[in-house]
């Protein structure tokens, strides 16, 4: 069931690295070694920089995005600032403003937003970590822009006819984050409790946060 699968992957710790098979290198693994070693030999990069960048990316999980959403849910004035200008609002809560302009789009009872990059795989990595394979797949990229409701249904999200679906195609220099609707029954919850309801898939727009347990 699509939802159960995504729940499993919406945890907050990084995925373990799958070890390379050292006994046999593929052509492209060999190419990676060559690019890396030549760049280090030429003094363009250092091995340390590369290692630190790998670690940095490992530590980027959807928790950062969830923190933004939880703050927006609890602070209407912050939410307004976030929707007007994403990057300064990130800095406000101690996050990197990021290398791209961030546009945050709000889900309401009338509008459901979903994000795609049909041309490649643009994604707000500095807030969510690396994108999942399906986001980068030909199938998602060709279909979600053309038949978003069918694709969302495949993810287990069935939207009513009175909800407008808005697809955002990151074709150029913007990056997008969906601000999901706050589930009912969460009045008085702390930001930490709220952030735990915000999964990666809800910020891409292929899922909505599960309702709070009564």
């Amino acid at each position: 069931m699509a939802h159960a699968h995504h729940d499993h992957h919406d945890h907050d710790h990084p995925h373990p690295t799958r070890p390379d098979q050292d006994d046999r290198l593929t052509y492209y693994q060999t190419m990676e070694i060559a690019v890396r070693e030549l760049l280090v030999e030429k003094g363009i990069l250092t091995a340390d920089q590369i290692r630190r960048q790998v670690e940095d990316m490992d530590n980027r999980t959807p928790l950062r995005g969830a923190k933004v959403v939880a703050r927006a849910w609890t602070d209407p004035a912050y939410k307004a600032r976030l929707l007007a200008e994403g990057n300064p609002a990130l800095e406000e809560i101690g996050l990197d403003r990021g290398p791209y302009r961030l546009v945050v789009v709000e889900n309401t009872p009338a509008v459901h937003n979903v994000i795609v990059c049909t041309l490649c795989s643009c994604y707000p990595r500095w807030l969510l970590g690396l994108p999942p394979d399906w986001y980068k797949s030909r199938n998602y990229r060709s279909r979600v822009v053309r038949e978003p409701r069918s694709v969302l249904r495949e993810f287990g999200l069935d939207l009513r006819d009175d909800v407008t679906v808005r697809v955002h195609d990151s074709t150029a220099d913007m990056r997008y984050l969906v601000l999901p609707a706050r589930p009912a029954g969460t009045e008085g919850w702390s930001e930490e409790q709220l952030a735990a309801l915000v999964t990666r898939d809800t910020m891409i727009g292929v899922a909505v946060p599960r309702p709070a347990n009564p």
């Binding site: 679906v165 808005r166 955002h168 990151s170 150029a172 220099d173």
Partner: protein
């Protein structure tokens, strides 16, 4: 060649049409949207032209970039969703003309 910034030509709310041109090279205007008309949702700012950056050239002067909202039923002849469903696409000014 002048590298002075290009002034934005379109305002939010204005109707614009995406040129139906098919050059070779690296283009960030998706095929599915070429020839279609929509409404400017916002001006995103000025950015160097990716068509030039793709060839290690500076891409200056920076081009105004817009988010343009298209109605899905205008873009896809067999669109099966709701009439207000839309797709928002970032498009550079040099790909737009008044609708």
């Amino acid at each position: 060649m002048s590298t002075a910034a290009i002034s934005p030509r379109y305002c939010p709310g204005e109707r614009v049409k995406v040129r139906a041109a098919y050059p070779p090279g690296h283009v960030r205007t998706p095929f599915y949207i070429r020839g279609h008309s929509g409404v400017v949702e916002r001006l995103c700012g000025n950015y160097p032209n990716p068509e030039e950056l793709a060839y290690a050239r500076p891409g200056l002067p920076a081009q105004p970039l817009y988010r343009v909202r298209f109605l899905q039923r205008d873009v896809w002849p067999d669109y099966a969703g709701q009439p207000a469903d839309s797709v928002d696409v970032e498009i550079y000014q040099h790909w737009l003309e008044p609708a």
